[in-house]
Symmetry: C2
């Protein structure tokens, strides 16, 4: 029995194998950039919006995907590349690049979010580094 990559990932997180989860995970596996709920809906066709919403929440809680914060009003998600990511404990500390031109958001593994000393009285749980600009794709095209 030939287990696909997505099935394996779901198994590893002890998540039930369902059509929606496989499809969504396949989409993440086959895309370089972070995907919004809308991106996914378009690719999925007639899938249920609410189920997709819950799938994303489940994946994020499981440590399969993480939010790619890019300063837009749309939530985007990308695959966690670190297998250490566990339920409600992510280890993705890389920057996210958002192209002002094409609107795509990508993980930049080479650039890490800075580690900061908190101002007095504050404590820091996580930092996000968001970069805006033009991606290499759009650079050529302009």
């Amino acid at each position: 029995m030939n287990m696909s990559a997505s099935t394996q990932l779901l198994k590893a997180q002890q998540l039930r194998i369902t059509d929606m989860r496989i499809k969504v995970l396949d989409l993440f596996l086959s895309h370089q950039e972070a995907l919004s709920q809308n991106d996914l809906e378009n690719s999925l066709g007639e899938a249920d919006r609410i189920t997709l919403y819950r799938t994303l929440r489940t994946f994020e809680e499981s440590g399969l995907i993480h939010k790619a914060i890019d300063g837009t009003d749309k939530q985007k998600y990308a695959l966690c590349k670190h297998t250490q990511c566990k339920p409600n404990q992510h280890f993705d500390h890389h920057a996210h690049f958002h192209c002002d031109d094409c609107g795509k958001t990508t993980c930049v593994e080479e650039i890490a979010a800075p580690i900061l000393s908190p101002p007095p009285g504050f404590s820091i749980s996580k930092t996000h580094l968001v970069i805006h600009g033009t991606c290499s794709n759009c650079q050529v095209a302009s």
Copy 2:
């Protein structure tokens, strides 16, 4: 004739002085933390939602306020403290702190967003530094 601070700011940006604009600007002037559209609606009472939306857009374009990116799905705005901020050209490079506890987002002028060299083929227009954690207010309370 006694011009209020908000009136002066509007004048300086060559914006028409209207009730909504004065009220909204007054709210920003009297609040330390970044405000969401919802925060403002609550404070304004019976104000028109659409007008508020457009007021915020106008203020941002004028350089009066800037988005306080905090990784939540809600857009928040804060007053630009740098008078250099011009229409569609902001000079706010500070970090934003988001408290996981109370949900408030504040500008951290003391911490600057890092200046990065772009990956090959990319160009950078702006970087945002988002810090999550617990604010001094919530720290004591816990």
